[in-house]
């Protein structure tokens, strides 16, 4: 059989511990030493006295079970799982109908570019020893070590020749390794591979540490090293699944550093199902960067350098022949190819420990099984008449795909105590609910079928606070689960009818439910939104699960049962019991009627994102801050009109420009702006500090004499909201043309004034700290013409030559201005505050000319 270096589905290594010395010798990566290594290996084997399978004698608790993890499969069911995991059906017929579908072996199409040829050859020569716990059997029969070597070399050349790419090792980098270590211990790798210490060895979990006496069990956790005691167990009143001692799933990664390159391992971690279609190694939703980081971490700081292998045509031909003769293709069928015909004959109900089940090597094929596993396979074959219930199929699936490494269902599954510290959260106050994946008990009655498929197959998830990620196993492998769960998991139906606001008869109930549901969720009711995010707004206390998705995700019967008694579903949940014994805690809403209160919440949540916010929830504006470059934000604002533009500078001095009229309309110091993007907000902004307001009417007019009155923005009233002068100020010659950003990101606005092209640029100026804005206007005029510029309104005081104040702004204009005119505003000045306006007369020459103004916001008096 060909090498199957991608095997990940180790069955036994989980409780084996680190490689014994003889296995390490076999890892010596130089061809020269291979023979020596082999000799040592064989000596080790012989010297061991017992077969490898006897080794579990040193295993910790629960070693008598054929499978690790907190499963409750008896030998028959475990045997049915093993028949699938070992891929027996690839070679045999006559398997019990209850056996799981055979796990597919890795796709070898690109194995030569993914796997080091050195590893490949070593692994092929002795798969079960080079990678302890692989499900790939030893297919060498009675061949001598030299013959094994010869065949392994030929197969390696053949496989490498079949790959388009070449295997290219590369150096790793330390920072990424640290990131990889964190990710490995956070996203869920630990659930199936166990924690690792700083040296990359399996962590100090008793299960993965041969020297058990050194293991320090976490005092807060049950001691996993405690041997599984059936008597004790039987005496206890059915301990919760998490409290029962069991062997952790901890598949060895010891072979990984010599097997992969950073790129190939990262590629595999990114899309494991492309190589291993059966999803036993699931996709953990890693980005390419994350995959790379974990790959670097697993390979370590100094991955071995491997010389590329140039396939020798003679070896390739021989390898191809071996591939055929050893029936490698039975398990490693290329994707889409028809399955090879079985070569192993029909499996009877009773078989001796011969052939594949032989205790030690020497038969045609040898699986590295222990006694409990042989026992289970025998049991599965012998009890082929035992009926398979839906619940059994669910349990076997959850065990085979290792869902039980993270999830509890009924009385099985759950995180092993030695893995538990690596299940983390960003919301520690949510307790285990914020940290551990949810239980799968009654899952089929809990989630809407379409939602379940989204979670299983489309990568949907709704618990952003969990460190661990729900992996993807492939629809091909779990596609049967939703229908099974729908049959196994049921709750008493509820006869809730959602009120239809369009139906006259429902209108009163609709109104009542909507009001009650909103009140119950709010801070005058049960205050659910204290710990549940609502409609994208964060809860003030704990940022627990978003509530508005409930109706999309959940089935009403489950919702009803859960709200009545959350602790029944999750004993340590921090969610209070608001209807203990069916009695409503809140008496005034809907007269304290429990059923109607829960229905009203369900109805309210059915409104989804259109549900009005419960009392106590606040939308918040988004604070926009300025980094080390200027920043612009366009949007409507009372300080700049609908076509407003805020311009912020790193020095905390900012202005607003009304692009509709071409005016600098506000100046402020402090924070930049708040933008409204909550609810229906269109990004309307307001300054984050109190602004100085300047007039927003058009400010430049090409005219020989100043117009009286100055043409003002059209006024719309509530009675007449139609714009009475819709072309203003285009009909006065103004047309906005946009802006350009310079290298520093400072905008220069561009507009036209009839035939005059204007650029308008404002920057902070003055001594540090710069506390005034310098505005430079430049004109490009085809002819000499007069322009009037209205620069200031209000109570204008001249404080020096070329210096005016109005309110909290001081404006400086060049003394060379042709004419400055401060005049009273005739129309509607407030009676107690005579208003005036400052007009500048500019005699523009033909060609280019410019003007500089300075705006200085003054402190409040």
């Amino acid at each position: 059989m060909p090498a199957s270096p991608q095997k990940c589905n180790m069955i036994r290594t989980a409780w084996r511990g680190p490689k014994p010395a003889r296995a390490r010798a076999a890892l010596t990566p130089r061809g020269l030493y291979r023979t020596v290594a082999w000799t040592i290996l064989l000596l080790g084997l012989l010297g061991d006295g017992a077969s490898i399978a006897a080794e579990p004698a040193s295993a910790p608790a629960g070693e008598d079970s054929p499978l690790p993890g907190n499963h409750r499969l008896d030998d028959v069911a475990a045997g049915q799982v093993l028949l699938g995991e070992l891929g027996c059906a690839h070679c045999h017929t006559g398997l019990p109908a209850q056996a799981l579908a055979p796990k597919r072996a890795p796709n070898l199409a690109e194995v030569g570019s993914r796997v080091s040829p050195e590893f490949l050859q070593r692994y092929l020569a002795d798969p079960t020893d080079v990678h302890r716990g692989t499900t790939m059997p030893d297919v060498w029969g009675r061949r001598t070590p030299a013959q094994r070597q010869e065949i392994a070399i030929a197969l390696t050349h053949y496989l490498v020749s079949q790959s388009r790419g070449t295997f290219t090792p590369e150096a790793t980098d330390g920072r990424t390794i640290d990131q990889g270590r964190r990710l490995y211990h956070t996203v869920g790798c630990v659930a199936c591979h166990g924690p690792r210490d700083d040296a990359g060895n399996p962590g100090t979990t008793p299960a993965a540490n041969e020297n058990k006496s050194d293991a320090k069990p976490d005092s807060a956790q049950p001691d996993p090293a405690q041997p599984y005691d059936e008597e004790t167990d039987a005496e206890e009143a059915d301990p919760a699944p998490s409290q029962r001692a069991f062997r952790p799933i901890a598949l060895s990664l010891a072979h990984v550093p010599t097997k992969y390159s950073v790129a190939s391992l990262a590629g595999f971690l990114h899309e494991p199902l492309a190589v291993r279609p059966s999803g036993r190694m699931p996709e953990v939703k890693l980005t390419t960067d994350e995959s790379r980081a974990i790959a670097q971490y697993l390979l370590g700081a100094e991955p071995p350098q491997v010389a590329p292998l140039a396939p020798d045509p003679r070896q390739v031909t021989a390898g191809e022949r071996y591939f055929r003769e050893l029936h490698c293709g039975n398990c490693h069928a290329p994707p889409g190819a028809a399955a090879a015909p079985p070569v192993g004959g029909e499996l009877p109900s009773q078989i001796a420990d011969r052939g594949c089940l032989q205790h030690s090597r020497g038969g045609p094929i040898w699986y590295d099984l222990d006694e409990s596993q042989r026992r289970a396979i025998h049991a599965a074959l012998a009890h082929r008449d035992r009926p398979d219930q839906d619940a059994d199929v669910v349990a076997k699936t959850l065990v085979a795909q290792r869902c039980i490494a993270c999830h509890v269902r009924d009385d099985y599954g759950g995180v092993h105590p030695s893995h538990d510290p690596h299940f983390t959260t960003t919301e520690p106050n949510l307790g285990d609910e914020g940290r551990l994946p949810p239980p799968l008990t009654l899952l089929g009655a809990k989630l809407q079928p379409a939602w379940l498929k989204k979670v299983l197959f489309d990568g949907e998830s709704v618990r952003p606070y969990l460190g661990v990620r729900m992996p993807q196993y492939g629809e091909e492998n779990l596609g049967h689960l939703p229908a099974l769960l729908a049959r196994t998991d049921t709750l008493p139906a509820v006869d809730w009818t959602i009120p239809n606001p369009e139906r006259e008869s429902d209108r009163e109930r609709e109104r009542e439910f909507r009001k009650a549901g909103r009140e119950l969720l709010g801070n005058q009711g049960l205050y659910c939104i204290a710990c549940h995010n609502f409609n994208g707004k964060e809860a003030p206390v704990n940022r627990g699960m978003e509530l508005t998705s409930s109706y999309q995700r959940l089935q009403p019967a489950w919702f009803n049962a859960f709200l009545r008694n959350p602790q029944q579903f999750r004993p340590r949940i921090i969610m209070p019991q608001s209807w203990a014994n069916g009695v409503a805690a809140h008496k005034t809403i809907l007269d304290g009627d429990t059923d109607r209160q829960i229905q009203s919440i369900w109805y309210y949540l059915s409104l989804g994102t259109s549900a009005a916010d419960p009392p106590g929830l606040r939308g918040i504006d988004t604070r926009l801050t300025v980094g080390n470059r200027p920043r612009m934000h366009r949007g409507r604002s009372r300080v700049a009109g609908y076509r407003g533009i805020a311009v912020g500078f790193p020095g905390q001095l900012h202005y607003a420009f009304n692009a509709e009229t071409g005016t600098l309309s506000a100046v402020w110091r402090g924070g930049f702006v708040s933008a409204n993007w909550s609810g229906q907000g269109s990004g309307d902004f307001h300054p984050a500090a109190e602004p100085v307001l300047l007039p927003q009417d058009v400010s430049l007019l090409v005219q020989d004499d100043p117009p009286t009155p100055w043409p003002r923005l059209p006024v719309m009233t509530k009675d007449n909201r139609v714009n009475p002068d819709p072309l203003y100020p285009k009909n006065l010659g103004y047309q906005f043309q946009g802006y350009r950003l310079d290298r520093e990101g400072v905008p220069t606005f561009r507009y036209r004034l009839h035939d005059i092209a204007v650029t308008d640029r404002t920057v902070p100026a003055g001594d540090e700290p710069r506390n005034l804005l310098a505005r430079r206007l430049q004109w490009e005029s085809p002819t000499a013409q007069t322009v009037w510029f209205r620069v200031l309104t209000g109570e204008i005081r001249q404080t020096a030559e070329g210096e005016y104040e109005s309110g909290r702004v001081r404006l400086s204009v060049p003394v060379s201005i042709a004419e400055t005119l401060v005049r009273e505003v005739a129309d509607d000045p407030p009676p107690d505050r005579p208003r005036s306006e400052l007009l500048l007369k500019l005699n523009l020459p033909a060609g280019t000319s410019s003007l500089e103004l300075k705006y200085e916001p003054l402190p409040r008096q």
């Binding site: 990114h270 996709e283 606001p501 409104l607 994102t609 009005a612 990004g683 139609v722």
Partner: protein, 510 residues
């Protein structure tokens, strides 16, 4: 009048404002109508089967980045530009990867609610609420540095005034669809108009009578269409053809005709409570709804649309329109044809179960349908505040009504797979009912004058990929609702979507 039904996201506040205005006029002390929350409508119930052919792939977004997509454009280098409600533009690379890990690069920020993007002449033309802008990266550093206002020739002064931009047509013209200020009113210049920003830089008016558009662009034959929302003068959402000088049905914008002499005379005021077929005769500029999307069954707030020109990469629906819906988080298809010079056509359910309110769609270079939007502020079925998703064809052929076209005495139905002759040959397999809407100023409205059309003859094509139906009553102004529950493909499969809706404006000559 049924004011309580609509929940169109663009309409919602109009209505709130309208109530507010009324309340203020009445001098009451109520400051804000209670937020009117409502259930968004029944599902098709086909999501689980749809995913077997058209899976939805979530596009990972950069951490801490809000991407409320409002517009897309494919760039010459095959990246896709996305413009957001928050005024940012990102260039996205790698959207078509089997497992997407796209790279987002911010091209511009600080713009005002982007509902139109088009790459033209080495620049991105961006439709913001305030203007149409040509955005250029002059120094080539990958970040925009030049923003030229191509047109701001419309009023923008009220809360609900959104602007939607079309792609650039082969002549270099671009179109902007401008919603009314409120459902019933046009307060600012040209609200309710389609404007053309010509290749010569001039802005001219093309059409009036819009209410609350959700998208504008070419149909499968390159003719300009926009999508209209349910509301006054529109009992359902609909696709409408935009021809020069046309009036699209809502008379609130008539008072701007003096500012647009190119549109000609002000149309005759339509009569509320009439029928579109009747008013078409009275008001020559009035364009009938080309494809009516029966309200709620086929969307509540339809938004951006694109023609599938993926050359088969997206499956069997080449040269068809794909449209997103904001409220229901669904995708639909439409086909159009011109009969006697008037556009009409059909709409079909396509995919439900998207994660957020869809504001726009775009086909990627790889032939996948990119969908994005937000669920903020208005009722939306999808639960995510914002999302980018990719719908892709997995190569399996769904059994669907490929398209319906009209015949002088009935319809021709094309299917994506051969039909089983025994069911397809029976006239009883085809259930057809027809209805029309009142054409009135009320908000939304019922389906009325419903009748059952008898199928009097079925002619199955030799390849069993199409069937010609003769029916007893073919009436202009009616929507024909097909229900083919009993139809099976030759391999015994029922239709993925058994319903389709054809809007008849004209009947071809024999």
């Amino acid at each position: 009048m049924n004011r309580c039904r609509a929940s169109d996201w663009r309409v919602w506040l109009c209505r709130a404002s309208m109530w507010l205005g009324l309340l203020l006029l009445w001098g009451t002390s109520i400051t804000q109508p209670a937020a009117h929350a409502e259930e968004v409508g029944d599902r098709w119930g086909t999501e689980e089967r749809e995913r077997e052919y058209y899976p939805i792939v979530s596009i990972p977004l950069p951490a801490d980045t809000v991407v409320e997509s409002g517009a897309f454009a494919v760039l010459p280098d095959n990246r896709v530009a996305v413009g957001t409600r928050r005024g940012e533009i990102y260039f996205i690379d790698g959207l078509d990867a089997p497992k997407p890990q796209p790279v987002f690069r911010q091209f511009a920020e600080g713009l005002d609610e982007i509902f139109g993007l088009a790459w033209h002449d080495n620049a991105l033309r961006v439709t913001q609420s305030c203007e149409l802008t040509r955005v250029t990266d002059e120094d080539g550093d990958g970040v925009a540095d030049r923003f030229d206002t191509l047109s701001d020739g419309w009023g923008y002064a009220n809360y609900h005034e959104y602007a939607f931009g079309s792609p650039v047509d082969p002549q270099g013209n671009q179109y902007v669809a401008l919603g009314l200020s409120e459902s019933y009113n046009s307060y600012a210049l040209f609200r309710g108009f389609v404007l053309q920003v010509g290749a010569d830089g001039r802005t001219t008016a093309v059409a009036s009578g819009l209410r609350s558009p959700g998208g504008i662009g070419p149909n499968e034959q390159g003719a300009l269409f926009y999508i209209e929302s349910q509301g006054p003068w529109n009992c359902s959402c609909s696709l409408k053809s935009v021809s020069a000088g046309s009036f699209q049905g809502h008379p609130a914008s008539f008072h701007w005709y003096p500012f647009a002499p190119e549109l000609g005379e002000v149309p005759t005021q339509p009569k509320s409570g009439s029928r579109i077929v009747t008013e078409r005769r009275r008001v020559p500029q009035l364009v009938p709804y080309a494809v009516i999307f029966p309200y709620i069954r086929m969307g509540r707030s339809i938004t951006g649309f694109r023609v599938n020109r993926t050359q088969g990469k997206f499956g069997p629906f080449e040269n068809q329109l794909f449209l997103g819906d904001y409220t229901l988080s669904i995708l639909m298809r439409a086909t159009t044809e011109q009969v006697n010079g008037v556009w009409q056509g059909a709409c079909y359910p396509f995919r439900e179960g998207l994660s957020t309110g869809i504001l726009n769609v775009e086909f990627t270079p790889g032939g996948k349908l990119l969908c994005g939007g937000t669920n903020r502020g208005w009722p939306v079925r999808g639960i995510k505040p914002f999302a980018l998703e990719r719908v892709e064809w997995n190569g399996r052929m769904p059994f669907e009504i490929e398209r319906i076209t009209i015949e002088p005495d009935g319809f021709r139905l094309k299917f994506t797979k051969p039909v089983a002759a025994e069911s397809a040959a029976q006239s009883g397999t085809y259930s057809l009912t027809a209805f029309t809407h009142p054409y009135h100023g009320g908000y939304g409205g019922p389906e009325i004058d419903r009748f059952t059309a008898e199928v009097t003859g079925v002619t199955l094509a030799a390849d069993r990929l199409s069937a010609r139906l003769q029916i007893d009553r073919l009436k202009p102004g009616f929507v024909y609702e097909f229900d083919l529950a009993a139809l099976q493909s030759s391999d015994g499969e029922p239709l993925l979507h058994r319903q389709a809706y054809y809007t008849v404006n004209e009947i071809p000559q024999p």
